[in-house]
Amino acid sequence: MENASTTDNPTWPPLLDVTRRPMVELLANGDTALARCTNRLIRSLDDPDGVISAFQNYAFQNLAS
């Protein structure tokens, strides 16, 4: 299913299944967007306040989660 182009397929599954992928594979290649987002996801597991939607009209990237 993941090979199908989502723009042509109205029933595509939205989430990417990476459960069988080693984390190091997703974190490889340094400061790529995928590595940053994987890092963020991992950090969020440890956030005592949980992931919270932040105020949009303020430009700051919350790195805590």
Binding site: V18, L41, S53, Q56
Partner: protein, 417 residues
Amino acid sequence: MIDRVSTEVVRAAQREAAAWPYRELDLARLRADGWHPTPIHDLILKVHQRCNLACDYCFVYTQADQTWRDRPAVMPDEVWRAAVASLGRHVRRHRLSGVRVILHGGEPLLYGVSRLGLLASELRAEMPAGCKVHIGLQTNGVLLNEKVIGSLRQHRIMVGVSVDGVEADHDRHRVGPNGRGSFAAVRDAIDLLRRPENRSIYGGLLCTVAPETDPIACYEQLRAFEPPMIDFLLPHANWERPPRRPAGTTTPYADWLVRVFDRWYDESDAISVRLFEDIITLLLGGGGQSEQVGLSPSAMVVVESDGAIEQVDSLKSAYDGACATGLNILHDDLDAALEDHGIVARQIGRAALSAHCLQCPVHQVCGAGHYVHRYRPGSGFRNPSVYCEDMRILIGHIRDRVAAEIRQRETEVVEAR
């Protein structure tokens, strides 16, 4: 007694304007089912109601809600002190590990840096040890100079700047009262923020998407400012006032953002783009951190210059009074806001979505988009986003690109064995 009457008047008006959430959300049922409110994490203080620019798309001055006219131009000291004290109690009661206070307007720098510094000092002193306090402001940049930036740095106040791409595009919308563009002043301000000694308070850039502009030129201009982060905002619109779409286009906002995404993704830029990183994180199964996508609870309230506790002011684009809760920081506790149906509706994830959205698999990522963009007169905020098709195209495209990269990495690992 007067306050209770006022609150009831506000709630009656809200019930009339928006069936969801004000008539249809069953708070007692939610609580019975085990739901608990998320404490306030972002407190937005509208320290100054006026602005030194007159941007043509501004939701505060040019759209449905005109309540700014009836409020003090400058927030009195007693109002922000009441807000600081209330936030301190809120943090202690809920044992919060961190809060953000965002100084907003109008243009918050009109308040004066010495008063902003005093506010920041008293705020930090009021919060309990162990609570991380982030203080920031969002400015149009025109009043930022070396002295102002030095003072903000001294008080550890982060600075976000609003800039709409290249000079011609920026100056078309972001103009002063005399009609002259503000780009040159903003560029000078950002040049100061980029200096090594000031980078610690350089928060990032906000840019409103304009589909008639060149997306790559816009992105490259923002990138040249070397911000730690960029966010692209969709212009506020709803089903009554749909977004502007150039003739011959169906999803111009997605088309524009897709081009920017590809440039950003292909170049593996170290600059974060909040909207794109939120979507990728959501696609990986994580939570979103912004109002535009995802189902994370929204934990923010605004305190207006007269002390009114309100929802975020982007709601002003929906209808007159859309932000109102009827509460006031001079008399009411912040926890009272957690009882407001409008605030609750933004904390309950899937339960706030329309049947249409729940049938669509993309809702796990888009979260029905920005709450403001769901508004339809009468029914209220339980609708798909007016940007629904744009969001579906953008999210689908990002998913395709990320899935392809994951497959590529898998192939490289197999070949390396």
